[in-house]
Symmetry: C2
Subunit: 350 residues, 2 copies
């Protein structure tokens, strides 16, 4: 899963322009985009970039290969990519994750590859709240990810406004931040270093539940998961229970879609269970990304039905993404991969 | 809303029998029923009740006028009524709420009328965890209750097992118990004494949300509310927002049904909004209990739609109950109200 961005600067451009997934968006009216641009240009000046190019307007063309504003961190990936590309354009050196945070708080997590840790920091302006790599993706290549995209409208609560309201109104959030998160961060880092999947999985599930608990403790409540999300949670707990060991972990960001972490060895059976319990057109779901081998999961299906899980209505999932832990931001040097034409217009429109 | 119970003791009964809503239930296999019976008989002996009657088997016939095991505290009401009726039969004196708790923890709340406070207590065996009346129902006669019974199967998680798992696994529960609940109890008692509806309503909503947050922080999570419940929450927040003051509060027990608290003056408009946003057969819902006056809520509907609330699918609610704060346990002395015949058999079967 990735965001891909091409940025061009030219003395011929009469204004800054931005196309997101083939649709033109307002640049001048977007305070976050402008803030990132201004910060990067400031750093470029300090680094001695030619003053000329900094005066030119830019054209930005960006595409995600996954849905926008659905709780899949599309804005985090997008801002990380935007800031990384700007840094390349202006030849800015050093870490730019703090600038990416001006666009979307969690964008600082999307620059490094592999498993990253987002540090809370101490500064009141958030300047030391940065992400660092725990291990590269190559440390645990068996770790796979299956994303179940739930058939749902655009989320009602934007994650930024929901989090802000949680900070202001949730009494449980204070306890979570002070007493639960630090212990869990230390324990999950250790589990990642040791490639200890059961521990990694349990912390992941408990922390996802607690994040959504705090969202619900917000006033008025912020509700991101829906009945389909909770049915997915039930399926994963039933699967782990009948197997007698932890095969799969779930986590939900600010939306109803499930992100499942699992080892490569569990992918085929998990996908067979998803297709049985969450059928699409009474059959399997469309899978994007890595291929999934076929699997006969009949015995596991029966064991799961015996502990009370029922086959759900048809068509609750939109599609499924099968992927691995990403490699982080990367410059694409082959001009065949650019999204803008030589004159600065998108090669593909929506 | 009430549970109604008739108990008969006779030397002719060959065993203890129990009918709940017209259906015979196992008595000998129900440890909670047996425990309540044993405790009351022990107290009766201490109080000098004739040894003869304590040897006789009993027939119990009980009916609720609201659904069982749907998160509407049916077992609390049932056990409170059972223990109260037994105490009358055996002429036991004094408070029996501690015995009712052997059946269902929250049954101690259902004996006194009006607004009651359930005290946490300090004893490790829970013997001082009792409920006392804050004010009788007559203190705030304008307070009404509308219960929206959601079209749903029997709840998956029994409230007793869910709470137990929360105590064992939720880290947020500890903080809630130590830091949030005591303050809220004091504040809501004061609001009840002052008949301060906005304060009463805000604490009620926040505490309902926090209870369900803690349930979600349980591992595996306990989920009682569903998409319909959350849509009801949205409607109430939208209604209060467009009115510019708090007209209605919601609270959810261990199930998807909403319990709305509101003053009598807001009943008609609230019911009109419920019928518009949660239609049944494209029209109004069936209302049990007190009648609801008609109301033209067109302007409020438009204002609520303008802030983003949408009309929901048809048939999400099963029916609606309109009631007031109850008067507490009461002995019915008119023999025409008994549920058992002179020979000890139910007068009405399911």
């Amino acid at each position: 899963m990735h965001a891909k961005t091409t940025i061009m600067a030219s003395p011929n451009f009469t204004k800054n322009c931005m196309w997101l997934n083939g649709k033109e968006e307002s640049f001048g009216g977007n305070a976050r985009l402008l803030s990132c641009l201004k910060e990067i240009q400031k750093r470029a000046q300090e680094d001695g970039t030619s003053k000329e190019i900094l005066k030119w307007n830019i054209h930005v063309c960006s595409e995600n290969n996954f849905p926008t504003a659905a709780g899949l961190a599309s804005s985090a990936a997008g801002y990380a990519c935007f800031v990384y590309a700007l840094a390349k354009l202006y030849k800015v050196k050093g870490d730019v994750s703090q600038i990416a945070r001006q666009g979307s708080g969690s964008a600082c997590r999307s620059l490094e590859g592999g498993f990253v840790r987002w540090h809370m920091g101490n500064a009141s302006n958030g300047s030391d709240s940065l992400a660092t790599q725990v291990v590269p993706a190559s440390h645990w290549p068996e770790m796979h990810v299956i994303i179940l995209v739930v058939n749902d409208k655009k989320k009602k609560v934007s994650s930024t406004s929901g989090m802000q309201r949680s900070v202001e109104t949730s009494e449980l959030l204070k306890h979570r931040v002070a007493h639960c998160v630090p212990q869990r961060i230390a324990a999950i880092e250790k589990a990642i270093h040791n490639r200890d999947f059961p521990t990694f999985a349990e912390i992941t599930m408990k922390d996802s539940n607690q994040f959504h608990a705090v969202a619900l403790d917000t006033y008025p409540p912020a509700v991101y998961m829906n009945d389909v999300s909770h049915a997915i949670v039930d399926l994963i707990h039933c699967f782990n229970q009948v197997k007698g060991c932890t095969k799969v972990a779930y986590t939900f960001d600010a939306g109803p879609n499930a992100c499942l972490y699992l080892l490569e060895s569990a992918v085929a059976e998990t996908m067979a269970l998803v297709d049985y319990f969450f059928p699409s057109n009474n059959s399997g779901n469309t899978v994007q990304g890595l291929p999934v081998p076929p699997c006969n999961a009949k015995e596991t299906v029966q064991a799961i039905e015996a502990v009370g899980m029922q086959k759900q209505d048809d068509g609750l999932l939109k599609y499924v993404i099968h992927t691995r832990i990403g490699e982080g931001a990367k410059e694409l040097t082959d001009s065949g991969t650019h999204l803008l034409s030589a004159s600065g217009l998108p090669l593909r429109l929506a």
